[in-house]
């Protein structure tokens, strides 16, 4: 690999993560490569259990202790390999360089601490200028205002806020230190549709204003279309298709899994009488098939698919990359 260029913020190479429990070993992430430049937004799409959250937790090194472990690969943030960083330096990265919005906003806030104090904590943890109390409070109010909550409500406790407002608080907390990268794990799944749209619009606006790079994790193409420049489709711990939002969402060439995903989206416009969901289930992550992991469900399955893991092929002259034997010359390599 060439030396990381100046513009690269996050570089993940060949990431493998396993969850080891007494009973079994779950192969949650199996060779993921991601490169994200400053200010860019990447959507990470895939059905439940694909390993999206696991990738995000690996970036922050917050995999559950004792069970979760990166078994192979490197993660570099701003060119620094974080796998070997001491815990203290890792803490400086968390919240300051990379911050994260977790899947469920309703449980992401501490119920016994006021929202204002929780935002203030994020600010104080990475405060280098020695802010005074008053300055911190001002910043808290500013953050709340930014996400559309009246600053006076900073003394309220999480249970006094609606789900959508809690999500805004979580977002303002994540942005409090102007991170270079914001990872949003299913930022809107727990919200109802109208609030979803508001929160998405707000995130888009904040992203543009602050120039924060983002990884938006979702199983919803709509959310990703709304917020992202690039899209990666994940299946069973691998990225099977990657490209610009245009290529993946509107293009004609796709991985069979992506095609299947589109087929499962209910649409008001199309005349289709019924959805065409992908047959079968995602493979058991404790016993993955040896060849292509999608092969058992793939309508275009060839002999080679069940035997040999496909390579990732660059399609056309854009950014589109697909991991599938269909795009190899003859039979793969």
């Amino acid at each position: 690999m060439a030396a990381a260029s100046e513009s690269v913020l996050l570089e993940i190479e060949d990431l493998h993560v396993v969850y080891q429990t007494d009973l079994s070993t779950v192969y949650a992430v199996n060779g993921v490569d991601i490169r994200l430049d400053y200010g860019h937004t990447l959507g990470l799409v895939g059905e439940t259990g694909a390993g999206k959250t696991t990738v995000a937790l690996s970036i922050l090194r917050l995999l559950p202790e004792r069970t979760g472990r990166v078994s192979r690969g490197t993660i570099r943030i701003k060119g620094r390999d974080i796998m070997t960083l001491p815990e203290k330096e890792m803490r400086e990265i968390r919240g300051q360089t990379v911050s994260m919005i977790f899947q469920d906003p309703m449980s992401a806030l501490n119920p016994v601490i006021t929202v204002g104090d929780q935002i203030a904590e994020a600010i104080l943890l990475h405060d280098k200028q020695g802010l005074t109390r008053v300055q911190v409070e001002e910043r808290v109010e500013e953050m709340l205002q930014m996400v559309g909550i009246e600053p006076e409500r900073k003394n309220g406790y999480p249970h006094q806020f609606s789900g959508g407002m809690q999500q805004r608080v979580v977002i303002s907390m994540a942005l409090a230190c102007n991170p270079d990268l914001l990872i949003a794990d299913e930022p809107t799944t727990a919200l109802d549709v109208t609030i979803q749209a508001q929160v998405l619009a707000m995130m888009r606006r904040l992203q543009e204003e602050l120039g924060t790079a983002m990884i938006v994790i979702s199983h919803d193409f709509g959310v990703v279309a709304e917020t992202c420049d690039f899209v990666a489709v994940m299946y069973a711990g691998e990225i099977v298709e990657y490209g610009t939002a245009e290529e993946v969402l509107d293009g004609n060439i796709h991985h069979p899994y992506t095609v299947g995903l589109f087929g499962s989206i209910p649409s008001l416009e199309s005349d289709a009488k019924r959805l065409s969901p992908i047959e079968g289930l995602m493979p058991d992550p404790t016993a993955l098939p040896p060849g292509c992991k999608f092969a058992p469900r793939c309508p275009h399955r060839m002999d080679v698919c069940t035997e040999q893991k496909p390579d990732t092929y660059l399609i056309g002259d854009g950014d589109l990359k697909i991991m599938c034997h269909l795009f190899g010359e003859g039979t793969g390599k």
């Binding site: 990265i93 919240g95 911050s99 977790f102 992401a108 806030l109 016994v112 601490i113 990475h126 406790y157």
Partner: protein, 310 residues
């Protein structure tokens, strides 16, 4: 907050009245009349009846109950002991401090030990420390208090001669009984704290705190502890009730003149006013402790606090 305190205080009144009624009813159901109890089986029938009449025992049950209640409320009179014929209140008042020190001391000790060891075990889950204290807790929760008391007495008083084995003459006399009484409570609280703490550490908001870049110390002390302690506090009130009950046994083992030994002797001698008054005092004490626990809980839990501060 004042409104809440006041409301809780007012709420204890019916509870205490209920306790008085229960105690009085149960004592009235016990066989024997005060005349016979005081003068003895062999006394003259007429003397016995005269005394019964003097004490109001010939009146119907409810009348007696309201007289008893009125005496307590308006004159702070709990009746005279059948045995010594002196006001029960005085006798109890002399003994009460011993029981109070014992119960409060053991509650403090068991809370401090139980909670801190519980946190330690949870933070170091699966370590040697964790296993060690968990096994110890199981041990102390399982052995009966009187046996532990006797063993401690055997070792520290008889063998080593470090501490007195009975009496209440100095604070040193309280060490063994307090240690004995707190062992069970500490064990229970330790196991509860450990499990609520482990439960709390798994919560999403703990992960949020870590993702903000908070240190492990901050995560434990600022984010986890307060949440983990809420159920522990409720159980502390309960365990105080248990230690009041335990005090009765422990006082007997260590020969301490406290409320416990007083109740035991009074029951043996069918001294109805004494038993009633002592039981009543214990229930009032229990109510007050529960009040403190509730206030503490409300203070720590914003959901409850918010309802009463405005």
């Amino acid at each position: 907050m004042y409104r809440y305190v006041l409301r809780r205080l007012l709420l204890t009144i019916p509870v205490i009245l209920g306790a008085i009624f229960l105690v009085f009813t149960i004592m009235s159901l016990t066989p024997g009349d005060p005349g016979t109890l005081i003068l003895g089986m062999t006394a003259d029938k007429e003397d016995i009846e005269a005394l019964n009449r003097e004490l109001g025992y010939d009146k119907p049950f409810l009348v007696r109950f309201f007289n008893y209640l009125a005496d307590i409320i308006f004159r702070f009179d709990f009746g005279d002991s059948y045995r010594t014929r002196t006001p029960v209140f005085q006798e109890i008042f002399q003994r009460f401090p011993n029981t109070f020190y014992l119960a409060v001391g053991s509650m403090a000790l068991s809370s401090i030990l139980g909670i801190s060891l519980g946190i330690l075990s949870a933070v170091r889950q699966y370590s040697f420390i964790d296993t060690f204290f968990t096994v110890m807790a199981m041990f102390f929760a399982a052995i009966p208090g009187f046996w532990l008391g006797l063993m401690l007495m055997l070792v520290f008083s008889l063998r080593l001669g470090w501490l007195p084995s009975s009496g209440v003459d100095s604070w040193r006399c309280f060490i063994l009984p307090t240690a004995t009484l707190s062992a069970g409570g500490a064990a229970g609280l330790m196991r509860l704290t450990r499990s609520t703490m482990l439960e709390t550490i798994r919560q999403d908001y703990i992960r949020t705190a870590r993702a903000k870049g908070a240190s492990e110390t901050t995560v434990i002390w600022k984010h986890a502890l307060k949440n983990a302690l809420l159920p522990v506090i409720t159980s502390m009130g309960m365990s105080f009730g248990a230690s009041l009950g335990g005090a009765i046994i422990i006082e007997t083992v260590f020969g301490m003149p406290g409320l416990g030994t007083y109740i035991v002797t009074s029951i043996r001698q069918k001294d109805v006013p004494a038993v009633s008054a002592a039981t009543l005092l214990l229930s009032v004490l229990f109510c007050l402790i529960m009040l403190v626990v509730d206030l503490l809980y409300a203070f720590l839990n914003p959901r409850i606090k918010a309802r009463y501060t405005s």
